[in-house]
């Protein structure tokens, strides 16, 4: 109590931020009950009648629902498998070479794509893979192969999505591992040197165990976001030709909810999405705690 009175100014300072979180984070959370109601504009979220699981049933009875879930999970798992190991390998490789210009250069270059906006990145993909103009098709032509309409091929969508992610984020993700590597006790390396360990042995027996906690934490966070595959990028990459593999839950929520004004239906799918994410995150955390002793909480 004494501290309350003494530090009243602290409470004054946090008012705007607390209001912000209540209005823009917690009210929408409460607002997700819209999924169990028949929302209409006149009665608003609170006044609209309850309909129970109607919209969830509507969604899951539709065979297209399973295609959406399948697409979402496939792109996510593909993304994890492709995007997860490379930053670790890059960090380990950078850690092997001496501090100097080359190391700095590699870091600056690999880190740069992180700053490119999603719109620009997708524009780059479209321009570079364009059947008429794109460098990829010029390359194919140069070696005598027929050109490919990359963005119009549903079979290629996930690969383009995932590998452009690898291109954009590998350097950025490596930073955390590099930091973890720099925190490893140097006496371990000296001991290994005296024992005649090779560079590869040092990586396997010192570096990897040293960054294991960082790897676990990042894996948990990644798993916790499986259902939330990068909506913004997928949405921009979609076109009528690739829609059968590129439609995921979040893009469907946007189209149903905001374009077709089916607020309750879209709200139900969105809620399903958030709940699955939360469950996955909690499970990944429990699992990691059991196995490695590292966890988020």
């Amino acid at each position: 109590m004494k501290s309350l009175r003494k530090h009243w100014q602290f409470y004054l300072l946090i008012i705007p931020a607390v209001l912000y979180f209540i209005i823009f984070k917690y009210i929408p959370m409460l607002g997700s009950i819209i999924a169990f109601k028949d929302y209409n504009v006149v009665q608003g979220i609170w006044g609209s009648p309850w309909v129970g699981l109607k919209y969830f049933k509507l969604f899951f009875d539709n065979p297209a629902a399973w295609d959406l879930i399948k697409n979402t999970l496939f792109i996510s798992f593909y993304g994890i498998v492709a995007c997860f190991p490379l930053p670790i390998i890059l960090a380990l490789a950078l850690n092997e070479i001496r501090q100097g210009r080359f190391k700095k250069f590699v870091q600056i270059v690999t880190y740069a794509p992180y700053f490119i906006s999603t719109v620009v990145l997708v524009s780059m993909i479209i321009v570079l893979t364009s059947p008429r103009l794109g460098i990829f098709n010029h390359m194919l032509e140069a070696i005598g192969l027929p050109s490919i309409n990359f963005m119009g091929d549903p079979g290629l969508f996930s690969s383009i999505y995932v590998w452009s992610d690898v291109w954009q984020f590998t350097g950025y993700s490596a930073v955390i591992y590099l930091a973890a590597l720099s925190g490893i006790d140097t006496s371990l390396y000296e001991a290994a040197k005296i024992d005649g360990a090779s560079r590869l042995q040092k990586i396997i027996h010192i570096d990897l165990p040293g960054i294991m906690p960082a790897i676990t934490i990042i894996l948990i966070l990644t798993v916790g976001n499986i259902m939330g595959v990068g909506f913004e990028k997928i949405f921009l990459m979609q076109n009528p030709l690739n829609l059968e593999t590129s439609e995921v839950l979040s893009t469907y929520v946007y189209k149903m909810g905001l374009l077709n004004a089916n607020y309750s239906f879209a709200g139900a799918i969105g809620l399903f999405n958030s709940v699955v994410n939360l469950i996955l995150l909690v499970m990944a955390n429990i699992f990691a705690k059991r196995i490695s002793g590292n966890s988020l909480w």
């Binding site: 530090h7 946090i14 607390v18 524009s123 040197k193 929520v253 607020y263």
Partner: protein, 298 residues
Amino acid sequence: MAKPMSIKESFGDKVFLAMVYTFLISVVIVVLYPLIYIVSSSLSSPLAVSSGKVWLWPVDFSLAGYKAIFNNSEVLVGYANSLFYTFFGTIISVTLTVMFAYPLSRKSFYGRNFLMIFILFTMLFSGGLIPEYLVVKHLHMLDTRWALIIPKAIAVWQVIIAVTFFRTSIPDEIVEASEMDGCSDLRFLWSVVLPLSKPIIAVLVLMYAIFQWNSYFDAMIYLKSEALYPLQVVLRNILILNTTSSATMDAQKLMEMNQVADLMKYSLIVVASLPVLIIYPFVQRHFMKGVLIGSVKG
């Protein structure tokens, strides 16, 4: 630390190191090539680009693509809007973040653990797109500039970074000492904490500014008037949807104009990324610092 070179590298280690260098060089090439290609294309002549003559360096140097941009009013308006959103959005975001993070970093602040959980929970679970949209709608922010500045004003991650910084670099002992001298919390924040916090403020400014400059989604769902569109939305219309409202095609010059339109795509990509590219070398160091401060806690 001095490098003890007494033990010579074995043959196996030399081969391994050569592989490491090969790997790193190929990574650099893969990352750098598309970027160089785009810049080179943007500086080539329309004909060279559409006939696929550009491979690495500009062919028939020309600024036609850039000239086309400066004749496009949508792009110019978008650029101005983006500067506006980035400038004011960043000021609001950084101010709110610092005001929130400083009390959270103090032991004497009763309730900080609760508030920490209060904000961390929003990282785990969110209401989702539809309820968030309805909130903005009920606040009558749709189709106003506020819609791009307020709903995403505070990022939890940035708060965590700031809290960690304040806690580690402004120890509670100094605060207690200043309290003895009768210095109020607000005064202390203003005249002691802020001057000591330039590095973290730089990190916050850069993170929020780049986020704001690069974002398109909120603008797409909340804005209807073209006059309010930020650059990223204009880019999406031109580059991804291939629509420009100001396209008045002269039948005779159709071919040539198509070529210029193709070329303009490359120039647009460059121009849109320019502000970020200019500050990038400066940003990169600070960004890394931010990531590292955050990961200490996370």
